[in-house]
Symmetry: C4
Subunit: 258 residues, 4 copies
């Protein structure tokens, strides 16, 4: 796992005069973590065939690592390309970059505290972008939401568009709206999540999704709480509980867990 101290070291390096370099080999463990981040977010259904995750280059704060244009589940180490803060792949070798790479480049430029960025279209998040209901932290796992979750309305920056962040100016507008927050929704599109490390941006992405699902259910619960339903009476419950309830299921559960 990439540690915070790796980025503290970078902090010092960043004070040295920048030497114009071509792609500088990133640590293999960091590339492995970035590939893992792609696969994890696909496996947890935060990403589907689209969306991406990047990490700032530990050897050069003006560079970041991001896959070529590819479904996250299929990304391997050979697909990871170094990009500069204008969103240009440094050594593409014929590989096509993501159209929306400016989401990453402009956030890295604006946010010195950020070392990892996710852009996603997670279905649970879209409803909070197309309504005026703010995301709030429902439990400790999503405590980072207490900072507030802004919603980026692309119409305010560019009127009617194809919704995508395909230019540097749109990336600038996006990063400005994000300001110092850990996460932001994009109306009719998706979200961006940022953190100091890959594990933290992955974790925030997963719990942002869970929080959205939980918050919708909590609101629905309050709204519908006056409904009249028929629960078991204490007497029915006691009579049922008198038997040994889970023995049959326990054998099945053990079998399935093996």
């Amino acid at each position: 796992m990439i540690q915070r101290r790796d980025f503290l070291a970078i902090g010092v390096a960043a004070l040295l005069p920048q030497i114009k370099i071509q792609a500088q080999q990133a640590p293999q463990t960091l590339i492995d973590d970035l590939v893992a981040g792609n696969h994890i977010l696909a496996g947890e259904m935060v990403l589907d065939g689209y969306g991406h995750i990047s990490v700032r280059h530990p050897g050069n704060r003006n560079r970041f690592l991001l896959s070529r244009s590819l479904a996250p589940e299929s990304v391997t180490g050979a697909d990871i390309m170094e990009h500069d803060l204008d969103g240009n792949p440094v050594d593409p070798k014929g590989r096509s970059p993501y159209k929306e790479r400016f989401i990453h480049s402009e956030i890295y430029r604006a946010r010195s505290d950020v070392n990892a960025v996710v852009h996603c279209h997670t279905p649970s998040l879209i409803p909070f972008g197309v309504t005026k209901v703010p995301l709030r932290p429902m439990y400790h796992q999503s405590a980072f939401l207490a900072a507030g979750v802004p919603v980026f309305e692309i119409r305010e920056s560019a009127g009617m568009t194809n919704m995508l962040i395909e230019t540097q100016p749109l990336g600038v507008a996006l990063a400005k709206k994000l300001a110092d927050k850990p996460a932001m929704l994009m109306r009719g599109h998706g979200a961006v999540i940022v953190a100091d490390t890959i594990p933290n941006v992955v974790g925030r992405s997963i719990y942002l999704d869970l929080n959205a699902r939980i918050q919708l259910q909590a609101l629905q619960l309050v709204e519908s709480a006056k409904g009249s339903i028929t629960p078991l009476t204490p007497e029915e419950a006691q009579k049922y509980a008198a038997s040994d309830n889970y023995a049959r299921a326990w054998e099945l559960w053990k079998k399935k867990a093996r």
Copy 2:
């Protein structure tokens, strides 16, 4: 697959004087189908560690086949036991029957048109049992619901109980409430589904579950339809649609489908 004609043949056999017999070997294909029915309903999450499926014996209309007390996912041919219409296993060989076998025995006694029975606790069905909202057929696949879906309230038959159909009189009351319908809910418990063949009772069980989930969503949709949300404008949509949208996902989808 067991065919309707097999049961027509039984109809004739039933006119002959009944000879007192011990367990009579059922066709292996029928046992295979009953085992498959157990596994299918577990795989489709209509059943979990509990619930059961039975079939009337094609060689003796006063007998039916049902697993010993076991989680459906674990049932094999060796677990299938012949039962008589009083719910007694004919040749248990030390195997324990389900406590709620009287659901099956009394339905077979009351319903000459029924050759297969499912009892389940499918989560989507419980809400319709504990409220006064009737299940209605949302689409062709669940057309059989148009006959109406009664709700069995065990309190009407036996006051405060442990909710289970563990006696013959409770089985009689249950079958009476079912009357000539293909499916019935049980308040605070689950449901029974009946049909003429194993494939049909399995199919009805699966689409009963789907219909419940669809109907809840349809009702919620109407209830919340006045809400103000922000869809894409036609202009935004047109601009987005100008690009070739699914190429990247198509490669992933093909890979996952292999």
Copy 3:
């Protein structure tokens, strides 16, 4: 992947005098894509044991390719049959066609821009067919919905039916209601989706399903937004966030993603 240029080439071929031909071998890559489309839509749960996907024959615009009557997940190349625009299989070799093939034949006849058709019963779509709530594009992935999604009411064409499009006149009525749109719901039944290529009709089908689920949630969110819930306070959130939150989960996520 079948390309748009393949169909441009067809456009020219269509100007030549039509020679009466029997089944003409379609490119193997197209058959592979049609089989993949069947498996993908089953895997994404857009289709279950029912529903179908077809493609126009690139060598003859008056023919289309569609599986014999079979669950989509089980379709192989050997099951693909050529049909004419009256819905007749050209060379069935004893294989049974889908009863509802007229959905496909009449859409191909009416819509020269369409080269691929899906018919499905996706559960998320049924609620929008049995209510008056119109589907709207919630995000860029479903931008094609901005054209509007009509609802086909079979009662208007044929009164009380078995809900299925089993005749040519019903296919004609369906295609007329679809008009120039990319997708249409069928009340109490399902939907049809059309596009210029297999990947695009598959992609539209998948995101039509997602959009329906997202729109229902967005409407519910607005409806229930006034509910009073207790989020974490900023102070609670800050105290929790002080610890390194995702280290334990990160190891698990990596393990699961391998």
Copy 4:
């Protein structure tokens, strides 16, 4: 499976003068069950990378067994550590305990009837913790909820915290609020579930989750029941039902169940 009689035997042993002992080997079958409990609750998504399950030591009622700090899905027998009722690992051998082990230690101290404890953050439970809607037993499987499900509000004990039970006094407050109940929610955090055996605490955890999902749906159903939807008419249903409906799906279902 650990039996109730094992704990009755312990009851007698507890009357003997306690000899100061180091870790005493627990029966391997009990450790196997504890490992299985970890894996089952992860597989059923009651736990994710966090949460834990413990069991009282059958040879010493003042000790309990709990994994070192690890995602439940990854726990093996070598990770199980004996803890005393102050929450100290008896023989840690360099292994780190869970921060929230005081949930377990103080419940075992306060509840002589409890031999197994689960702490979880199951998403379905959070809404009932952040609203005032009480959990009620929707069906027989969750009959144990009839005893009532209190909600622990950590602010009442300790004001603004990081939400976690990381100290002995917080564990005492938690156990006091739990009182004699089988389950309790924790506002903005999760839940605790207790029982006399591992199978029973696992079963209660699984059905607590299911009950929460069912109860939310039941309340939504009542709330939205006045909505106007269009079901199939009896005539449409009858016409559809005239065909043999499930033959095609049956072959698929059998194939998938193999």
